[in-house]
């Protein structure tokens, strides 16, 4: 397997009166061709910022401070703005969390997909429309011909998300970044959209970077999982290995607190506390303040990367391989 996207030591920060506050702090991972990599973490862990940094879409005044993002060997962080614009959409596309608000309310949805196609490819309007129609069929929009001329407010949330996916796929990107693609949808629609993403990924052999906080979705869709906490990766592993044998105390805590796995009649285990905000990150291990297995070294030294098994990386002083 070859990496289509290589992220190395990525650091993104927002300026503040007390100096720059990092939100992504030295994240490295590879996204391989044809795989689904799930980026998992609580709200505020920096997973969305990691994806936006890779697209160079970090909202102002934040900026990528250092690191490297290579797409097929091309360094994206050094590309001129116009070149980067050509990469976005054409080679890396993004599906957002909120299908309700991601479509321009005053433009017909078909028109919006047609524009996306014409933006990156020199095709006639009729051709782009025909392709949009095919895409609508592919993402399972019923009655595609009529939907082409619908305005966003005439479509349901699930349909809008399908339109968004159609738009993201319109230029056959190598990488699809899906930022919590099903969070805003209800459960049955969620399942449909996940199934759709899986089918599309298989058919097109695209790589998907799936950002989510829902381990159920991870189990459903991901090949590999990267767990993030407070701007850093804490554990990376194959899905099955990670779910059955989590090494990092944070991952263990996450898995323990899945309602479906809890024993009936007992209180649902939880990880005490909340993710500290970036300006209050501890000096040592970021998870030290909430970790049940903390030792003294955790407070002072940040743990180095260890690779206890093939395809697995853990950042922890005390990881011991004991099951959840």
């Amino acid at each position: 397997m070859s990496a289509v996207l290589e992220v190395r030591d990525l650091r993104t920060a927002f300026p503040s009166s007390g100096g720059p506050v990092p939100v992504v702090d030295g994240v490295s991972f590879d996204l391989n061709r044809g795989e689904v990599l799930a980026l998992v973490g609580e709200s505020g862990s920096g997973k969305s910022m990691t994806a936006l940094s890779a697209m160079r879409l970090v909202p102002k005044p934040g900026r990528v401070v250092s690191g490297s993002v290579r797409l097929d060997g091309t360094e994206l962080l050094d590309l001129p703005v116009t070149e980067m614009r050509r990469v976005r959409g054409a080679r890396m596309a993004m599906i957002f969390q909120e299908p309700m608000t991601c479509l321009n309310p005053v433009v017909r949805v078909g028109e919006q997909v047609i524009e996306a196609i014409q933006l990156h490819e020199d095709v006639s309007k009729a051709e782009a429309r025909a392709r949009t129609r095919e895409l609508f069929v592919e993402v399972g929009i019923p009655d595609p011909e009529a939907r082409l001329d619908a305005f966003p407010h005439q479509l349901s949330g699930g349909l809008k998300q399908r339109v968004m996916i159609a738009m993201a796929l319109s230029t056959r990107p190598e990488i699809l970044i899906a930022d919590e693609p099903t969070t805003a949808l209800d459960v049955t629609v969620q399942a449909q959209i996940l199934a759709l993403l899986r089918d599309l990924q298989r058919d097109r052999d695209a790589a998907i970077l799936l950002i989510t906080h829902d381990l159920g979705i991870v189990n459903e869709l991901a090949d590999r999982v990267a767990v993030m906490y407070a701007g850093r990766l804490v554990e990376v592993a194959e899905r099955r290995a990670l779910l059955s044998d989590p090494r990092h105390p944070y991952t263990q805590g996450l898995l323990r607190s899945i309602p479906a796995l809890a024993r009936p009649g007992e209180a649902l285990p939880e990880i005490p506390g909340v993710v500290p905000s970036p300006d209050q990150w501890p000096a040592g291990c970021r998870f030290a303040t909430r970790c049940p297995k903390r030792i003294d070294r955790c407070d002072t030294d940040f743990p180095e990367e260890t690779a206890p098994a093939e395809g697995r990386r853990v950042w922890c002083h005390v990881h011991d391989g004991e099951g959840a």
């Binding site: 879409l57 909202p59 976005r88 993004m94 957002f96 479509l103 005053v106």
Partner: protein, 343 residues
């Protein structure tokens, strides 16, 4: 004065305006959202729309002029002067001096009129038919409201949208401009500008535009700030859409309802401002403001000459009331917060 006579320009502009209105009507018909809004508007404010239409019709009729076709014995017109449709309707209606509405003799002195009983609103000091003057004023009012908005709104949009969208330096510069303009008393600046540019219809419009664009600039800046952060703008960026295209495709169309509302609401304010300027003696010739200004002396006569100011005031009042009523309804229909569901 110019190579081409002024009335030719006026005719051309009127033609352009009519074509523009037809085109706008086509656009509205073509877009379901706008079409629904338009029919809702018609349902709510039929009378006000008809009144505005009447004023518009008079204004247009007074803007189409041509030379010739004047009877040789007509009093008070040069044979080669370009006359508009309205001018021709009131051709040869001049009296010697004041006469009351529908009177058959002069108001002071009681000499018989040339056209007894034909002056619906009487005549003014120079014997001109007041109804005719009121009709002439409609064109001036519409011209002031329309031309000024045409200058002020694009100006405000340009500065407001660029400040809101790009932020940073651009925003600082625009805000400095706005604050500076806002710090100068509006009326003072108006008078100064008109004095510098000379007293013509166009210069009054420019002066009103320069002093009047600040409010909408703030509004469009604030709205752009909001739109800029919306998901579909972010999504457009993620698709690799250029900044200019985002502005024209995603920001401006979503400001359209604000532009329409602002246009209608500033329009009436501008017509009123002109009346103020006329009161100060620097207004536009032939405006209702000037008629009202002229009536200052008439009100102190005995017996009082009331029809002049009455007619001009009523005409002004009618236009402003109708435009405001339409404007309110437009806001209700177009503003997403007060819009009824159209699922």
């Amino acid at each position: 004065m110019m190579g081409i006579e002024a009335y030719v320009w006026s005719n051309a502009m009127t033609g352009l305006l009519l074509v523009g209105m037809l085109w706008a009507a086509r656009v509205v018909r073509g877009n379901r959202l706008w079409r629904e809004a338009a029919s809702e508007l018609w349902r709510r404010r039929r009378l006000a729309i008809l009144v505005v239409g009447l004023y518009l019709g008079i204004g247009v009729a007074d803007s189409i002029a041509w030379v010739g076709g004047i009877p040789e014995d007509a009093v008070g017109v040069l044979p080669n002067a370009p006359l508009s449709i309205i001018d021709r309707l009131f051709l040869d209606t001049r009296e010697a001096s004041y006469s009351a509405p529908l009177a058959s003799v002069e108001f002071y002195g009681g000499k018989p009129l040339r056209h007894p009983g034909s002056h619906l609103l009487g005549t003014d000091i120079l014997g001109r038919d007041v109804l005719y003057m009121v009709f002439k004023g409609a064109r001036v009012a519409l011209l002031i409201g329309g031309l000024t908005s045409l200058i002020a709104i694009p100006l405000a949009l340009f500065f407001g949208v660029s400040a809101g969208y790009f932020g940073g330096r651009v925003d600082d510069v625009v805000f400095f401009l706005i604050s500076t303009l806002a710090a100068i008393p509006g009326l003072l600046l108006l008078i100064a500008l008109i004095m510098v540019m000379g007293r013509s219809t166009v210069s009054v419009c420019i002066a009103l535009a320069v002093t009047g664009w600040v409010g909408f600039c703030r509004l469009s800046r604030a709205e752009t700030l909001k739109l800029r952060e919306l998901d579909y703008v972010q999504a457009a960026r993620a698709l690799g859409v250029s900044e200019a295209r985002i502005i024209f495709r995603h920001i401006l169309p979503n400001l359209a309802h604000l532009i329409v509302i602002t246009f209608v609401l500033t329009f009436s304010g501008l017509v009123l401002s002109e009346a103020t300027l006329s009161w100060l003696g620097i207004g536009v010739d032939g405006s209702w403001g000037q008629m009202i200004d002229g009536a200052r002396d008439e009100l102190s006569r005995s017996p009082i000459v009331w029809w002049n100011i009455g007619a001009a005031g009523t005409a002004l009042f009618g236009l402003i009331l109708a435009v405001n009523a339409v404007g309110d309804a437009i806001r209700d229909v177009l503003d997403p917060r007060t819009m009824r569901g159209s699922e």
